[in-house]
Amino acid sequence: MTQKLLLSAEDLHIILFRLACQLKETHGNFENTLLVGLQPRGVRLAERLLHILTQHYKVPNVQLSKLDITFFRDDFRRSDKVLNANNNSMEFGVENKRIVLIDDVLYTGRSIRAALTAIDSYGRPAEIQLLNLIDRRFSRHLPIQPDFCGHQVDAIQNERVVVCWKEDDNEDAVYLVNK
């Protein structure tokens, strides 16, 4: 197994601030906006963006929910691993909201399809946008593209993109790992 550094802590820092700025540009004071982090890895990214928005850009009352898509995945019983669920916390409601789905890596697009169906069961949002830290382009199984993208990667099938966060993995970095 070999790994290559894609983004350093400094690169990540710059990208996170850019993504936060783009969100601010599109959503203004976030009055009718709901950020939705996908469990488990998208939540960390969403929390970082929330921190930048509230601490550095002084946007008050940005709403953040956590969505778990386990029960909506299309590979249940098709892969060997059992799909264990994480917590959902969707206390803000989605009806008529502008939603930004946030996940760390966009690969086949299947998780996002599951997330779109999952959000449906909470109500009818006004619109749904997609934010990804890493876009593994040319590897999509579905017609899904990010609205906000941190960094694009061309990775082949037996490579994996691993996003590390200081909170969980002791460092901020993104690696390309050869399986």
Partner: protein, 307 residues
């Protein structure tokens, strides 16, 4: 990634503590699902489940069916009273005929102890025991212990008394196994005619004085007196049972703490519990029913994942 250690749910006896905790964790997520505006997830959309009820049931059958539908499974129902069993078909033949219609899972209730285990050995489908005679009723025990954990924060170290007809009760046996695996202390209480002779070999203590039992416990799981299973007289009359073993509000007021009252239903109001107790905040009987759907969803989901 954790998974269940068993392929079928035949009884709590065959589960380990990690299995029970995994079912609880999964059920917690499903409880959130069934409180959404749209209470349905697509996980089991390619699964067909047969509910075979060879014995009458209202809430278990409804609860299982609701759980299956909330998971998007296809469901077929079968009631023994309207079937070819009356024409002399054997259990295996009946089930194999149903399975040849491409059924993946079978939920079965039967009046004979061991019926679910027997089926698991002879047919090729995932079997879930929804009650077999006076043997086990695993999903009831799971939802009971889940409800205790929800109300009291934990089951470990809690004192639970099971009161009433222990002799005819599959709920009692499954509850004893589940509570012990989760580290609770268990006592059974009832008229000595309704307590099995060797029950202490399971590691439980016996008490015939209900007032002493209530003073000891944190939780009282009160069972229904099963008139339909009684071929002999185990106690003189309903009135006498209510007088000696019926739990009333004044009785609970004499205790120095507020204990939790549970009942698997259907309740004989005025016999094992007074109406005032049933409708009080101490009783978590309706929480048990709500948790039943979440627990059954978790069991179906985790067993389906084993295929």
């Amino acid at each position: 990634m954790s998974e269940l250690s068993v392929k079928h749910l035949l009884g709590i006896k065959y589960l380990n503590e990690a299995d029970i905790r995994l079912i609880f964790e999964t059920a917690t997520q499903f409880k959130e699902v069934i409180n959404r505006p749209i209470k349905k997830v697509p996980s089991l959309r390619d699964i067909t489940i047969a509910n075979l009820f060879f014995e009458n049931s209202t809430r278990t059958k409804l609860s299982f069916e609701l759980a299956q539908k909330r998971l998007s499974a296809d469901v077929i129902n079968f009631a023994a009273s309207m079937s070819s069993l009356k024409k002399g078909e054997t259990l295996i033949d009946t089930v194999n005929n149903i399975l040849s219609m491409k059924v993946d899972m079978v939920v079965m209730r039967h009046s004979s102890a061991g019926a679910a285990s027997f089926l698991a050995q002879h047919v090729n489908a995932t079997i879930i025991n929804a009650g077999d005679g006076a043997h086990e009723h695993p999903t009831q025990a799971l939802l009971d212990t889940f409800s205790i954990a929800e109300r009291l924060g934990n089951v470990t170290g809690k004192k639970v008394v099971i009161i009433g007809d222990i002799l005819h009760s599959r709920v009692a046996l499954s509850n004893i196994f589940a509570l012990q695996k989760l580290g609770a202390e268990v006592k059974v209480c009832g008229p000595s005619t309704l307590i099995p002779k060797h029950i202490t070999s399971l590691g439980v203590t016996v008490e015939t004085d209900v007032k002493k039992a209530l003073a000891w416990c944190d939780v009282a799981n009160v069972l229904r007196v099963q008139f339909e299973r009684m071929s002999a007289s185990y106690f003189p009359s309903n009135r006498e049972y209510a007088a000696f073993y019926g739990i009333t509000k004044p009785m609970l007021k004499t205790l120095d703490k507020e204990i939790v009252i549970m009942h698997p239903g259907p309740i004989n109001r005025g016999v094992e519990l007074s109406s005032e107790v049933v409708d009080s905040n101490q009783a978590i009987i309706l929480d048990q029913v709500e948790n039943g759907v979440a627990i059954r969803m978790a069991v179906l989901y985790l067993l389906a994942a084993k295929k």
